[in-house]
Symmetry: C2
Subunit: 406 residues, 2 copies
């Protein structure tokens, strides 16, 4: 992307005028039109359809239908899972379910994976992986007597297949990484890393939280074994909305969940003796799902599916290119460094810029009505959610940051 020499706002306005997704912003509640919200990668905005859906779920389904509401709720996590599979992560029907939190899903898939590779003693992951994934793995490794082989990749470019190859051998049970790193937005090469892991006899588990709904994902084509992800970022499912888990079809009945619950029982309401898992992904469900929060996920996913991931991805590239160009023009001279890959093919839908006083600058931005995310010690993370972020938001946010940082 080249900016006009003045980098003036008309450039951003022109990009908004030709944005095929521009109309989607009206599908969301924009409570404060002056707010520059660059944190849709932490908590996506509220879709108008979700506000209406929740009113119906509360008043009609819960308030009026009462227990009879379960006729429509009982399979909701599987139906939304199928929608995510088809439109967002490139999986087959019956391979994705929405349930529990990312942490709980990550735990049960990581545990199932290492249990499926008895005798192997190591897990490979990235020191820069999202904290909850690392903490789960530490607990699991301690409980099972396994070692974690920590990758220490370049903090901007993230783990490369060569980094993984260097620590892979016949002792590795599981390779688990984030597809898009939560700080740098670096995209890992899923297919290449899966291929290396498969050759070494290890299973793969990807955390898609920062990529689903922002970049194209092909779980099937890339040969992914297992994946989890959250729904409250680019999928706009609402605060703490339930997460999803993916298990490649062939593995669903070969692996064993550590948490056997009644929602995974073959004949749930017979309430009989002896756990017998339902076939397929249903057998991996555990407890009763939080229906209000789950209903919101349904609406958020529907909007992403309607927009189409390829169009979303193209806008994510354009938005982040715009942000990188403004960083180079305005912020680099003020001592900032780019904390995200320069190659748009290697970058998700957020851009990190780094300076030692990031903490103070983030607070000052918020006071000025620009909402980024601070990540210790020096990162200002600018989330550019393609369905709701405009090019003028990028321009306004970075112009404000330039003023504050000068």
């Amino acid at each position: 992307m080249t900016l006009s020499p003045s980098h003036d706002r008309t450039e951003a306005e022109r990009l908004d005028a030709t944005d095929p997704l521009a109309g989607f912003r009206d599908r969301f509640v924009i409570a404060d039109p002056a707010l520059v919200y660059l944190d849709g990668n932490s908590l996506g905005r509220l879709p108008r359809a979700t506000a209406e859906r929740l009113e119906r779920v509360v008043a009609e389904e819960w308030g009026d239908q009462l227990i009879r509401g379960w006729e429509q709720w009982i399979d909701l996590g599987l139906r939304v899972g199928d929608a995510i599979a088809a439109a967002i992560v490139g999986a087959r029907p019956g391979e994705v379910a929405v349930a529990d939190s990312t942490t709980v899903n990550f735990y049960r898939l990581a545990a199932a994976a290492v249990d499926a590779r008895p005798g192997r003693t190591a897990i490979v992951t990235d020191r820069a992986n999202f904290p909850t994934d690392r903490y789960v793995l530490e607990g699991l490794a301690a409980a099972r007597g396994l070692a974690i082989r920590w990758l220490d990749p370049d903090p901007v470019e993230g783990p490369e297949p060569l980094d993984v190859a260097a620590v892979l051998d016949g002792d590795v049970a599981l390779v688990t990484l984030s597809h898009v790193n939560y700080r740098s937005a670096a995209i890992a090469d899923m297919a290449a890393i899966n291929s290396l892991a498969r050759d070494a006899g290890a299973l793969t588990l990807w955390d898609l939280s920062h990529s689903a709904g922002a970049v194209a994902i092909d779980l099937e084509g890339s040969g992914t074994d297992l994946a989890v992800g959250c729904t409250y970022k680019y999928l706009n499912g609402g605060p703490g909305a339930p997460a999803y888990l993916y298990i490649r079809g062939e593995l669903q009945d070969r692996l064993r969940t550590p948490i056997q619950g009644w929602f995974g029982q073959r004949d749930q309401f017979a309430m009989g003796q002896g756990f017998e898992p339902a076939p397929g992904i249903r057998g991996w469900l555990a407890g009763t799902p939080p229906v209000l929060s789950l209903s919101a996920v349904d609406e958020g996913v529907r909007l992403v599916a309607e927009a189409g991931i390829d169009v979303i991805r193209a806008k994510a590239v354009a938005l982040t290119e715009h942000a990188v160009a403004l960083h180079d023009a305005w912020l680099a001279p003020l001592g900032f460094e780019l904390g995200s890959p320069r190659d748009p093919a290697r970058r998700g839908a957020h851009v990190s810029v780094r300076r030692a006083d990031a903490d103070r600058l983030c607070a000052a931005l918020i006071d000025r009505g620009v909402i980024p995310d601070y990540r210790a010690p020096d990162v200002i993370r600018l989330g550019l959610s393609p369905l709701t972020t405009r090019f003028v938001d990028v321009w306004d946010g970075l112009a404000t940051l330039r003023e504050l940082a000068a």
Copy 2:
């Protein structure tokens, strides 16, 4: 309770007229005033305050405050946990947290308990325990190489301390039971069983799902180690609302959660290396909580706290006594048997009546606007939720059942 010889409806009307909780029914949405809802022990009704709260949470907290909403959400599960501790389960501040599902909470506490008793090889539970608890234990026992010692107590009266004493020895790591049985409503003697388990060096884990909000519970006074429970029954938290976990203060830092997540990390947003649990119950949290569903729990718990558990319990006794008297007068002559204890001190807030054609009768009741629960093979379960069930509901429901069964 003695009924007038005619068992006419005026008796029930008189009881409603003097019911100190009668006014609470108006605090709930009664969408269809003709519906006789006897399933508040499966899914409690919608509080009016909850409908209003959810509108605010969706429109203002999510839609308007966006990511800044976390200032009020981050500790919500602990605040609601403290409210449950104080008003409902007899625990101390900092001993209860709302999080995840009953199944996930049960898994993590059961796993932590058996891991805290290395070398012990057995778990004691009840074949009539709620299915999800049994299924979790089967998975855990298989994974850890433990045996389950199944109690087979009287199906109406439930497990007695003597039943537990008969299978307790130095090999038992964990004794886990439901406080109120989901079929019979039998109340187990928590204090006596805890005392036996403690003497044998075993930990105790109680499932309070069918008792919390219906009977008085004194976790501290009864010497309970661990407990879980759901919030969508008598606590009126909404479909699939998140559950709670209780860990006696002294045990919180001695036991170790199998699911280490970022919400349990001491300095969560430092996102640093190495899991270091936050002190107390917070260290047992794992993933991001479903805020919409959790907000509904806050309102449901508030109503129970306002009414007061002793007044609720007194009405539960009166409602179930009314149902038992009508069963004896009307249903026993038609071949029904009572599936719940006769002694009200041993009975929760539901009454089960049994006949071989219970399945057909439940379907017929629903067609007539009476909603009970069917539990295979022969149980009609009548849930009498004290905040919303009237004595005339009991009368009308059983009068309809008498007609259908004649």
